[in-house]
């Protein structure tokens, strides 16, 4: 049995021997070579579009996956490509933000593309910023306009990137309930500039698993083991 998470940007697989693989979503078949559909538990936006024995939502997968690393986690914040999910494990509730790209990975990609850099560079640029540019807009499109204004005024790319991360963090922090043990997952969490901004805005340290983007694939696998 494998856990297969086919999201809007990347596809991730968790294998029983403890290995993970990540490919672009359109290449998800590479992850299931030689594996029968009856041995796949899928999750992610395309969970029902890929062969599977069982399909579960990312919310349930996240709950099962995060528990592997942090058994006493209280809240999970999953910052995905198209949405941000906040799951409160204490009372079994969740919130999703997907009406607007401003608090999602899509916003980071949008920004990187405008600046002519890779998304993977955003974290390092943030760390080199001297003074984060002030961006007030909560709308992703308006935030780009503000970034242009700040650069016209003389702000560096580093300062603008840091300002964008703080803007992003303020939006996500509003969704997070008061808790001590908050786990951050999703590919976006690899951006250390963003996590630093989020910790500063929220005023607390977050728990980050070693491979945050594969937690949901692992959760799908664990779900199948617990509920065969």
């Amino acid at each position: 049995m494998i856990g297969l998470d086919v999201g809007s940007t990347t596809a991730k697989a968790a294998y029983p021997e403890g290995k993970f693989r990540i490919v672009e979503s359109r290449n998800w078949r590479e992850l299931t070579d030689g594996i029968a559909p009856c041995d796949i538990v899928s999750t992610g936006y395309f969970r029902k579009s890929v062969p599977h024995k069982l399909a579960i939502t990312e919310i349930t997968a996240a709950a099962f996956g995060a528990r592997e690393y942090f058994p006493d986690a209280e809240v999970i914040v999953d910052i995905g490509g198209q949405d941000t999910k906040v799951i409160d494990l204490r009372n079994n509730t969740f919130l999703l933000n997907d009406k607007c790209s401003a608090g999602t990975g899509a916003f980071l990609e949008f920004t990187a593309k405008y600046l002519g850099i890779q998304v993977s560079e955003l974290g390092d640029l943030h760390m080199r910023a001297k003074k984060a540019a002030q961006l007030n807009s909560t709308c992703g499109v308006f935030a780009i306009s503000e970034m242009i204004s700040r650069m016209v005024e003389g702000a560096s790319v580093e300062d603008v990137v840091a300002g964008m991360h703080y803007s992003f963090a303020r939006r996500v922090a509003k969704l997070i309930p008061e808790a001590d043990r908050i786990v951050l997952i999703g590919g976006t969490v690899k951006n250390r500039g963003l996590t630093a901004a989020l910790e500063e805005v929220a005023g607390k340290r977050f728990l980050i698993p070693p491979a945050p983007q594969t937690v949901n694939a692992l959760g799908a696998l664990r779900y199948s083991e617990e509920r065969p």
Partner: protein
Amino acid sequence: MILTSMSTVGITALVPPELIFACGHMPLDVNNHVPSSAEHPVSKLCAWTATWREMLLQKRLQVDSLVVVAGGDCHNALADGQRVALGGIPAHFFFYPFDGDTDYMEAQMQRLVLHLGGEVDKAKFREVGLAKELGMRLEQMRIEGRISGADAFRILISFSDLCGDIPAFMEQLVPEKRHEEAKFRVGLIGVPPIYKDFHEVAESFGMHIAYDELPYEFLRLGGNSMAELAKSYAGYTFARSLGYRLDFLERELARRRVDGVIHYTQFACHHLLEDDVLRRRLDYPVLTVQGDMPGSTPEQVKLRLEAFSEMLGRAP
């Protein structure tokens, strides 16, 4: 303007249909035409009101007069109703009392009767009452899980205007689908979803909708005299204080033994601001979903419904 001959009277939210029938006219709930509409209003906040506004202005929905429920319920209707009026359709504005004052309610009802022509055939009160008694029996079957939530909703939502024809409507009060056993019972609160298949989608994820908050108001309010109607409709929970509504909700949700609550909110609707209060007060798992344009239930809402069903399955 005072209506004289038999007319089609559009209503934008709950207006006592007893009065419209009693004055010799046919009520038509303009909202019932929204979920299947293909309108794309240029200027909009709430798609419910903007859609019926455009349908009326473009004559894709024909009414002789429009009764706009402007006080205590839908605030966007006040603006969109006036735009319809400015477009040449006679409009009457109807206000509910926030404090439940029955004298105020009766005065509003008398004003409405004057707009509708002033002649009241009280036999119609009883006719509508009989239809509602039959509806209550069907609602009890839904509570007992003998008919599906989708079927019950289809019937209940039509009690706002009884499809403009009481005898014909009563003949339609027959459940269509056999109810299949659901894993969970949920209450659906807030304004009705703008999606035409919301109940069916919820059922596909194993959730039986055992309560539709607003449509149940259409059914439970009524009376056989002006005084009885005023007393009953003054208790219309959506127009009253949040505390009053929450007390009512708690009783209904307990009576219907729900496992969870879905709070449907509409983009740009002031009721969205009540979400935090409802979530804090109601002692159930609560899923909040927000809709915008009419049509089929979109994938992001389906994801939430599926995840909510999974979550109810994990509940201790």
